[in-house]
């Protein structure tokens, strides 16, 4: 029986590098692919590892075919398809595992590595975060190391030994040398706006953020999700926080529990007639970078003055993209925060007064009472807000579960809720009083990154508010949550959000402050990554190159120029590399440390005015030197002694080398001749 150490010593290093590289490339997939796929992949990888350690034999070809068939069945059984993003990745993973089991010669090995590179590219289909990017960079380097180790050959008829990481060194060197070329290609390679062909949409990716319907508890779920929903860069000073309402889906129909919009189910929403409005001041210009949320909403401030490319405006003033936002999307927007709608706006139609029968009987009574007290529809809004302000309503992130009638239970029983409860019950009361109203969901506010100049809007900023239609004024935004006094807002961060001034940052503990600071820094890095790496598309490429080229007097840059410039620079860099790598002048053999040290010592003495004669031995030279510099006599004798011993002793000792180096290092660089010596 061989011990494990003995077995490990016989493992081909190339195969180990390959397995390590594949493992790193697989890791990000593990959380996404079903357990049975990862288990099968682990089995195949383990089989290969077992073979490397000489515990197992590789399967014969009938068994391999059987395994391949089994893999196909597993994939088809799991995904009911062999194509599509998820199934494709699973297929690739199992294919790779099978390839490992029939890997014998260099060709198979190369193919396995190429499949590994392809596997790395599939990771990017799901996430393009900075950490994944770095992790996959590591995987690429490991696979290159494997290739180098394999082509270096397992057996040699040569002298000398390679250290185990010689291949890694070479791969690292090549990757470093490749980086300038990569950056050049990345910047200058003309970007073609895809897709080239329609992609199968397997709907696998989970939707995130605000959904297209709202029932109690749905938005408060997001309240602890600190991930970024989108980032905003304002061209000039941002509007005041009270105006930062990022409109998303508008919900018009209430079924007693859930608010939704029937318009959303249509593939192409009803396009709204643009209402006429009068802007009260200049538009606010900004750029939104929206994180992928797998839905069609684009968020913008009220009132959008333009539409991003590839989107349309629905009758409820929602901006809806043509396709799901599956990748980071960047769009420029202009909005008028201050506007009045034209007087001629016709009163809206039925759905804005719809209420399900039998829901909220008490609320209906309350609405009638409040309307009577208010006297007019216009005063009714203030009356309801007053009701929220005066009754003991609390704003909490953990609202009690509403099991019965959600409206009545909240208004008269629990009186504790998150924004969706307030918005829903407000709209309900408005409609009950005959005032057209709708629920608007989206995000409110955002946080300025103090280390930079942009706003971060997080999922926890998700919000719901109301819009009411008042004759003569058109749709008006009303946010019932804001009337809750700060003392009844439970969470400190919410208090900061809704009533600034009531509490300050200094009331937070220093750890949470430090954490916030770290978060700001990390977000800034992420944003730069997004801006320059993920979202470097053909438009940004145009802009960027335009900016650079205009500096050199070129006015216009098209893709031909780009390609030509790219080839030119590529050629120049490669020529520099070729000169550097190939035309190296004849090198001296690596000098031995003893000779180097002694030469250095002689240089020092030469500077002091005492050069060694060509034919003078170390010992004679020492004798002569000692007479000149008797104060350094001890060091001189020691150096000569060490040098002679290292050169002529039958077994030179390594510690003598260090002693010689140390003695030479401590020897004075230039000795001042004492006056008396003449």
């Amino acid at each position: 029986m061989k011990t494990l150490t003995q077995r490990l010593r016989r493992v081909t290093t190339a195969n180990l590098w390959l397995l390590a590289g594949l493992l790193v490339a697989l890791l990000p997939h593990l959380q996404r692919i079903p357990l049975i796929i990862s288990a099968t992949a682990a089995l195949l990888l383990g089989w290969r590892m077992g073979h490397e350690l000489q515990y197992l034999r590789l399967p014969s070809w009938p068994l391999r075919w059987l395994l391949a068939l089994l893999a196909a069945i597993i994939i088809y059984g799991t995904f009911h398809s062999l194509v599509g993003r998820q199934a494709g990745v699973a297929l690739l993973i199992l294919l790779l595992g099978l390839k490992l089991l029939e890997m014998n010669d260099q060709r198979d090995f190369s193919m396995a590595c190429y499949l590994g590179f392809f596997l790395i590219s599939t990771v990017f289909l799901f996430t393009q975060s900075i950490l994944i990017g770095l992790f996959m960079f590591l995987a690429t380097t490991l696979l290159l190391t494997a290739l180098i180790a394999r082509y270096r050959g397992p057996e040699y008829v040569g002298r000398g030994h390679l250290s185990e990481h010689a291949s890694l060194d070479k791969a690292g060197l090549m990757v470093l040398q490749a980086l300038p070329l990569t950056i050049l290609l990345f910047v200058l390679f003309p970007r073609i706006p895809g897709p080239l062909w329609q992609l199968p949409n397997d709907g696998s990716s989970a939707k995130t953020g605000i959904s297209d319907s709202m029932s109690p508890g749905m938005i408060s779920q997001l309240s602890n999700d600190n991930s970024i929903a989108f980032r905003v860069l304002f061209d000039r000073a941002p509007p005041p926080p009270a105006q930062l309402y990022w409109r998303g889906p508008v919900l018009t129909v209430f079924d007693g529990r859930t608010w939704f919009n029937p318009n959303h189910d249509k593939p192409w929403p009803k396009v709204g007639r643009r209402s006429r409005y009068r802007a009260l001041n200049a538009p606010v210009s900004y750029t939104v970078t929206l994180e992928p949320h797998q839905q069609r909403w684009l968020f913008a401030l009220d009132l959008p003055a333009m539409l991003p490319v590839g989107s349309s405006l629905s009758s409820d003033y929602e901006i809806i993209a043509r396709n799901n936002v599956e990748q980071l999307r960047r769009y420029d927007m202009q909005s008028y925060p201050y506007y009045t709608l034209a007087q001629t706006e016709v009163p809206p139609e039925r759905p804005y007064l719809q209420l399900p029968a039998g829901v909220g009987p008490q609320a209906h009574v309350l609405a009638r009472e409040l309307l009577a007290q208010a006297g007019s529809k216009a005063a009714m809004v203030e009356q309801v807000l007053q009701f929220f302000r005066q009754q003991p309503f609390y704003y909490t992130r953990q609202p009690p579960l509403l099991l019965g009638d959600p409206i009545d239970e909240f208004l008269f029983d629990s009186q504790r809720g998150y924004c969706e409860h307030y918005a829903a019950s407000f709209v309900f009361l408005m409609r009950a009083a005959g005032i057209p109203a709708r629920v608007v969901t989206g995000y409110r506010g955002g946080e300025m990154n103090p280390l930079s100049d942009y706003f971060m809007v997080r999922q926890s900023d998700a919000h719901a508010w109301a819009e009411v239609w008042l004759g003569g004024k058109g749709w008006q935004r009303v946010d019932p949550t804001t009337v809750i006094p700060a003392s009844r807002i439970e969470n400190q961060l919410d208090r900061l959000r809704f009533s600034p001034g009531s509490t300050s940052l200094s009331s937070l503990s220093w750890t949470s402050l430090a954490w916030r600071q770290l978060g700001f820094n990390w977000d800034r890095v992420n944003r730069a990554w997004n801006q320059w790496m993920i979202n470097y598309n053909n438009r940004r490429q145009q802009d960027f190159l335009q900016k650079i080229m205009s500096r050199f007097g070129f006015s216009d840059i098209d893709w031909q120029t780009m390609l030509l410039t790219l080839l030119l620079f590529l050629f120049v860099i490669l020529a520099v590399y070729a000169w550097w790598l190939l035309q190296r002048s004849e090198r001296k053999r690596p000098q031995d440390p003893v000779q180097r040290s002694y030469t250095h010592y002689c240089h020092k003495l030469a500077r002091s005015g005492l050069a060694r004669n060509v034919a003078e031995g170390a010992w004679d030279f020492a004798q002569r030197t000692q007479q000149h510099f008797p104060e350094h006599g001890k060091a001189i004798i020691e150096i000569a002694h060490l040098y002679n011993r290292l050169r002529y002793a039958p077994w030179p000792r390594q510690e003598d080398v260090h002693r010689l180096q140390k003695a030479v290092r401590h020897f004075p660089g230039r000795i001042k001749r004492p006056q008396s010596s003449q």
Binding site: L125, L181, W197, I534, L574
Partner: protein
């Protein structure tokens, strides 16, 4: 042994080999395919004589790059773009690194030791690279022969042997040696040819037939009794310092004042003539083969033997030098002396 498939793979082309070579040479591409003939001095692989082309795996790699690029365009995925660009750059750099692996290599081919026909000859070769730190996985190969793989580490000169299977006796010019490498990534093959005017002496293969030469050809040596050896007592002589103590005639020493040393005669005091004419029933090559066998047997039994071939006569003697002389005569029998610069 590893490259037997090489010749099989090229089988259909082998009929066309000579016309193709002639055509390519006329086109000025002879150096590219066949090297530039033997050179007397040490060979340094300058950039003019190192060639590079992508391998089949290199083409697969290009296909991979294309797929990655298409996937990047289609999914608008910038990290896939970055990956494909990184791998493209690595591929371009691999070209330089491959080329560098052979560039400036200094080659000296030695004269191989003589072998018997059918054995593998080992062509000694010295490789050195004074301008690059290391060169890896260099395959040295005489076309259609097995390859030797070597590496040069830290500029240390390397001595290797290139195997060459022999099929014909005689004095053959060592063919060009194909020096190639696919290091580091297997994407490109760099190669060069090296040939120096070296000759491989191939003795005829010794016959397996254990037939002995006719006894009648054993001749009593005239000087046989006076030879020195260990077998037969030949007489006494006076002692010289340095004589073995065991050979001192102690009985005689006991009787007289002087010491005597016993002398012994030659071991086999016969002479053997290995004669071409003894084998009239065989054809030329078979005769040479048989004679080779006899030479080897005779050497092993320490006989004094001589060799008679038509036109050649080597007087009886013993020792390795004599054996070499006989074997060389057999190897070169009926062969034209070749022009040293034109194999």
């Amino acid at each position: 042994m590893a490259t037997a498939p090489h010749s099989i793979r090229n089988f259909p082309w082998r009929i066309l080999h000579w016309p193709v070579q002639l055509g390519l040479t006329k086109l000025g591409l002879g150096r590219f395919f066949y090297g530039q003939g033997p050179e007397p001095g040490p060979i340094i692989l300058t950039s003019r004589r190192v060639y590079i082309l992508p391998t089949r795996m290199g083409l697969s790699y290009a296909l991979l790059l294309l797929i990655l690029l298409l996937s990047a365009i289609n999914y608008n995925n910038n990290l896939t773009y970055a990956l494909s660009f990184l791998l493209t750059s690595i591929g371009l750099l691999a070209m330089l690194h491959s080329y560098r692996n052979l560039l400036h290599l200094q080659i000296n081919i030695g004269t191989p030791k003589a072998v018997f026909c059918g054995d593998y000859a080992q062509v000694p070769i010295t490789l050195e690279n004074r301008r690059q730190p290391s060169s890896y996985a260099i395959s040295l190969q005489i076309p259609e022969q097995p390859a030797a793989t070597v590496q040069i580490v830290q500029q240390q000169p390397l001595e290797a042997a290139v195997p060459m299977c022999t099929t014909q006796r005689g004095r053959h010019a060592v063919p060009r040696i194909h020096i190639s490498s696919v290091f580091p990534l297997g994407l490109f093959r760099v190669w060069a040819h090296a040939q120096q005017p070296r000759y491989q002496l191939v003795y005829p293969a010794p016959d397996q037939h254990p037939a002995r030469p006719h006894q009648s050809n054993y001749q009593a040596s005239l000087a046989g009794d006076r030879g020195r050896g260990a077998d037969d007592f030949a007489g006494l002589r006076s002692y010289h310092p340095g004589d073995s103590l065991r050979h001192i005639h102690w009985k005689a020493a006991a009787r007289s004042e002087t010491l005597y040393t016993k002398e012994f005669g030659g071991d086999r005091c016969e002479e053997l003539w290995l004669d071409w004419d003894q084998l009239p029933q065989l054809d030329t090559e078979a005769r040479l083969s048989r004679l080779t066998r006899w030479v080897l047997d005779a050497s092993r039994t320490q006989l004094r033997y001589g060799l008679r071939l038509p036109g050649t006569r080597i007087v009886p003697s013993t020792g390795p030098e004599h054996q070499r002389c006989c074997l060389k005569a057999l190897a070169l029998f009926n062969q034209q002396p070749s022009d040293p610069m034109r194999p």
